[in-house]
């Protein structure tokens, strides 16, 4: 029953003052029998009122605005979390029965949302791989772990080669990326064999003896739905089951449903993003240091009405948007 202390700091700095920023944060760990939040302190520049609600996927989401002019915005979350190890699914049930059960789920809420493999150019290729990796006698959880290993072994963990905007096609060509990309591919593979798969964002917590990939930033992995068991966390970046070393923040269909911090503001399009996540056991001191965004993909942070860039293009964009509004 490990207790973790997590400190997650996100900081945006702008070369010139910006204003009217509206933000959304998904930084509240999930509460359930395997994960308990003892304490959370949230500090945000300007001390805005953070309004929270539960979204469609059951995540707690906070929103806030910061309208005054500012040149930096820091969101700091300090957490104390206790996790409990969850027993793994047994493999004693007949596999055929489990696959049958999965078929029934495909027309049910919420599973329907986690079963649509998105289309990309390499889908045929991936389908072939999925077919060869899977053997008839396997249970869904065995298949899921096999796919996890496949991603781990066939994709290179390289920071900075992908961004939020990198498409699946590009990732597929690169055969490389960070945890978000690994999780993304795994969800597609699982969905191709009709296993509901969702994307998870959260933190990975250092094992006292060796380090894991994905530390120092927010981490991402996948969950597969196993009949008679529930959602099983699988971390393709570290080729392991995501259990009591993984602290879950949010689940969704993809990265966009779970992005920890996103926002829009008015002003300069330039900004610098720094993210630091440090994790320690409750009984030890720890230090975090800022990392530039290479370790994790920059969360969605966009300027609206970005005039300084090129007024003409801005104007044409506005013209186009205004014209394309459907007036039914």
């Amino acid at each position: 029953m490990p207790d973790f202390r997590i400190e997650h700091i996100t900081r945006y700095t702008y070369p010139s003052p910006v204003r009217d920023s509206a933000n959304q944060i998904i930084l509240y760990p999930i509460h359930d029998e395997y994960q308990e939040v003892i304490r959370q302190e949230l500090h945000i520049t300007g001390d805005p009122v953070v309004d929270t609600f539960i979204d469609y996927y059951g995540n707690e989401v906070g929103t806030f605005t910061y309208s005054q002019q500012h040149t930096s915005l820091t969101i700091s979350s300090k957490l104390s979390v206790t996790t409990r190890q969850r027993p793994l699914p047994g493999n004693d049930i007949f596999p055929e029965q489990q696959w049958e059960d999965l078929k029934r789920l495909s027309q049910m809420v919420p599973y329907i949302d986690f079963l649509k493999p998105e289309y990309f150019d390499g889908i045929k290729e991936l389908q072939a791989i999925v077919k060869s990796e899977r053997s008839k006698e396997d249970t869904p959880s065995q298949v899921a772990l096999r796919f996890c290993r496949y991603v781990y072994e066939n994709f290179e963990y390289v920071k900075g080669v992908t961004t939020v905007e990198t498409t699946m096609d590009e990732i597929w060509k690169l055969r490389a990326g960070v945890c978000q990309d690994f999780a993304h591919i795994l969800t597609i593979m699982l969905r191709l064999v009709n296993i509901p798969a969702r994307y998870v964002s959260g933190y990975i917590c250092t094992n006292r003896h060796h380090t894991l990939r994905g530390e120092g930033a927010t981490h991402a992995w996948a969950e597969a739905y196993i009949p008679d068991y529930g959602w099983l966390g699988i971390d393709p970046t570290n080729n392991c089951i995501a259990n009591d070393t993984h602290v879950r923040l949010a689940v969704g269909r993809n990265f966009l449903d779970c992005s920890p911090v996103r926002g829009v503001y008015k002003g300069s399009s330039d900004h610098k993003l720094e993210v630091a996540v440090s994790v320690g056991y409750e009984d030890e001191a720890h230090h975090g240091s800022f990392l530039q965004e290479e370790n994790t993909k920059a969360p969605d942070f966009k300027p609206v009405d970005d005039r300084p860039k090129n007024s003409y293009q801005q104007y044409m964009e506005m013209l186009q948007q205004q014209q394309q509004q459907q007036q039914q």
């Binding site: 009217d20 920023s21 509206a22 933000n23 959304q24 805005p48 009122v49 309004d51 609600f53 979204d55 469609y56 996927y57 929103t63 806030f64 605005t65 309208s67 027309q107 049910m108 809420v109 329907i112 949302d113 649509k116 996103r262 926002g263 829009v264 503001y265 969605d300 966009k302 609206v304 009405d305 801005q314 964009e317 506005m318 013209l319 948007q321 205004q322 014209q323 509004q325 459907q326 007036q327 039914q328």
Partner: protein
Amino acid sequence: MQESAYFKEYHPISGVWDEMYGDAGIRAHYTKVIEYLSRESSDDLTRKEELAKRLFMSQGITFTVYSSGEGIEKIFPFDIIPRIITADEWSFVEKGIKQRLRALNLFLKDIYDNQFIVKDGIVPIDIIYSCPHFLREMYKLQVPYNIYVHIAGIDLIRDHDGTFYVLEDNLRTPSGVSYMLENREITKRLFPDLLPQCGVRSVMEYPSILYKNLLSLSPRQISNPNIVLLSPGIYNSAYFEHTTLARLMGVELVEGRDLVVKDQKVYMKTTVGLQQVDVIYRRVDDEYLDPLVFNPSSILGVAGIMGAYRKGNVAIVNAIGNGVADDKAIYIYVPEMIKYYLGEEPLLKNVPTYQLGNEDERQYVFANINKMVVKKTNESGGYGMLMGHAASEEETEKYKKEILKAPRNFIAQPTISLSAAPCYIQGALHPRRIDLRPYALCGPDGIEIVPGGLTRVALKEGSLVVNSSQGGGSKDTWVLA
């Protein structure tokens, strides 16, 4: 009855319901107008036509067409001969639309809450969850009085025997109501005294009913809440309508950049600081409304507005997420919805519709494509359509390929022979195809439909497409008392 020269040339199209001409000659409800017109020479009528054009132009009732970077202002063609609807026909249409809207509203409430209709297998879950306008952000979100569709523009057409059919339900940002109002104003000028003589019901109440409904939605119980009309801006084709409605209701016309969200409340930026906004009648699409939640590159929206909406601090009209109810693939299930929610038989019929996502229906449609109209489920305004009987083989093949890429996004309907009404074209009356869009307003007191609407007309001979983008025009629409 005396018939002047331009009537002799009137030949109803065979096999088509003619609004003016029946088996026994001119229908009773058209006789007074015909008598009036018979006293006018064709020169008189041509002069009236010119007067109408001039009035539209000088009042700036125009829409802008953009080509090669330059905007050209055009008037929406107006045909001077009114389209007339009898009291009986209207009462049926009115009941039918109210029934349909009640069901659609309940459907939206249900689909964003308990989803009973899906659990009971009436509407397939797939079709809902694959609809891009089914917004998960709306799930369990409380809207005032559970009203989602405040303004509806349901398109009706009449088949060869005069039966009314619903062609599509426009539940997001239905437009054209300003033409209903302006057309009537012009008719008053063109045919003095004729409206009262014929007993034509007034449509002028529309802005005040809409205003009353908007007012009732204000979350703040204050005497003078701020109601605004949110327009995409001057480059939108319906900008004229936005200014007209804002003026007639006396509400502020705003653009996204005029608004800002602070602590879950929406404010407008004024010269004396921020003022809280209570009700927004928006003419901006869902996807552009909040760059924080939807399309991040939108410059027409207001970042954070979804949060204010969720908290109930601002009312948005029409509600967000209505697109799931007027998706053309979901349209197929509206008659079932009426039975399911209301326990009633639908009054207004649906046009038979094939969902191309279903393999067998798709094959049937492909085999009979020259008798079909194929449409994209999420487009309106006559864009992206294939008129099977008129398309070349090449066009058809190209379109089929398009369909196969995403069959869920297409439906097909057998070509319906729209009814025809007389139009004054080059000095004589000729039958042209028409449809009808009444405007329904839902408020806490129920559904009200002003007696009238927009009659769109396909001015090109033989054309079945009435959309303004495709050479359509409009007529004043008379509902008789």
